[in-house]
Amino acid sequence: RPEHRRETARFWRENRAEAALRERCLVPAEEYERFAQAVERALVEHQRREEQRILQMAADIREAERRQRETVQAALQVEPELCTGPSVCRPTAGPGRDNPCAAEQPGPSGMQTGPDLAWMESGKVLTFIGHQEREGKGNVHTGAKPPWLTEEEEDGSKQQIGPSYEEFLKHKEKQKLKKLPVERVGANFDHTSQTSDSWLPSFGRVWNHGRRWQSRHQFRTESGENKKK
């Protein structure tokens, strides 16, 4: 503490601030001690309150789930014939699905009246057909090549020279197309072009400086290395 005082004195002198100001600016030691203790106590208090709040929320959610399940049971028993559909679906939906789905709507659907509840109930019991495992191939979320762009087998070529009548009809259609808005989706799509595997320009590099071709070059180098390996 003494060297701190010396330093503050020096600082004051160097910046030529008023001595009176210094009295007000310095925080006396006891004040500081008091403050530190108060902070600790406040922190402990705050943590306790947060924990209580979370426990309360959990209890509320559990309560709501229970109420909802009971309502559903009651509704299912009241109308047995109508519910043979949904209750057949229920077992196939799997046990794990029931809880998280019920947790989605704790308050409101517990209080909905009959018809609305019936619609959302059968809507909630969506048949679950399993996780779609496609490791190594990717899917729509990862930007993999869509199945309709993968050219696998081609039909045998037509016997006839060419369907000229069809061509004519297509030509008439294309004439009509010219009247449509020019910026619509897929307007200038070249249907005969081939699609490579890197059709989606997602080569990341979020935090980069520099130009786009640099990150593209980087990506190509890395993927080139992978292929050679």
């Binding site: 057909i129 779609q132 899917n139 307007a187």
Partner: protein
């Protein structure tokens, strides 16, 4: 009601539909014909198909017959409905976690009609993702269990 709507039974047919339906929204319902919620949805699709015929083309696809597509679109709950326009997959923000498809059935025919109209108008303006006009409380809730990002 699903016997009124045309069906696609193999990957090639789905490919063909996506690539050939032009200037209209392509609606692909992935599900099973005998599933309860699918029946509800198919009913709505069948009843609105005629009125929407200038804006949309609707097909039903059985998830068991096109495993490639079931996996590509990560279809874990049925029915799941996917929308395309001119071969481009259209995404819609329903307020649910997954924008790539609509899971479940619609509450009313009008909801579906409104959605098709919004997708069609968005596509005409070049938008690849649009916001759904359906009230979020009418969107079925489900858990998105996607693994392996």
């Amino acid at each position: 009601m699903s016997f009124l709507l045309p069906k696609l039974t193999c990957k090639k047919e789905v490919d063909q539909a996506i690539k050939s339906v032009a200037e209209k929204v392509l609606v692909l319902r992935f599900g099973r014909d005998n599933d309860a919620v699918c029946l509800q949805l198919d009913d709505i699709l069948a009843k609105t198909a005629h009125d929407l015929s200038k804006m949309a083309v609707i097909y039903l696809v059985d998830v068991n017959s096109v495993p490639v597509y079931t996996q590509y679109f990560d279809i874990s709950y049925i029915p799941s409905t996917v929308f395309f326009f001119n071969g481009q997959h259209m995404k819609v923000d329903y307020g649910s976690p997954d924008h790539t498809k609509f899971v479940g059935s619609f509450k009313t025919k009008q909801d579906f009609i409104d959605l098709i109209e919004v997708i069609y108008r968005g596509a005409m303006r070049g938008k690849l993702i649009v916001r759904s006009p359906i009230d979020p409380k009418n969107i079925p809730k489900y858990d998105l269990l996607y693994q392996g990002i």
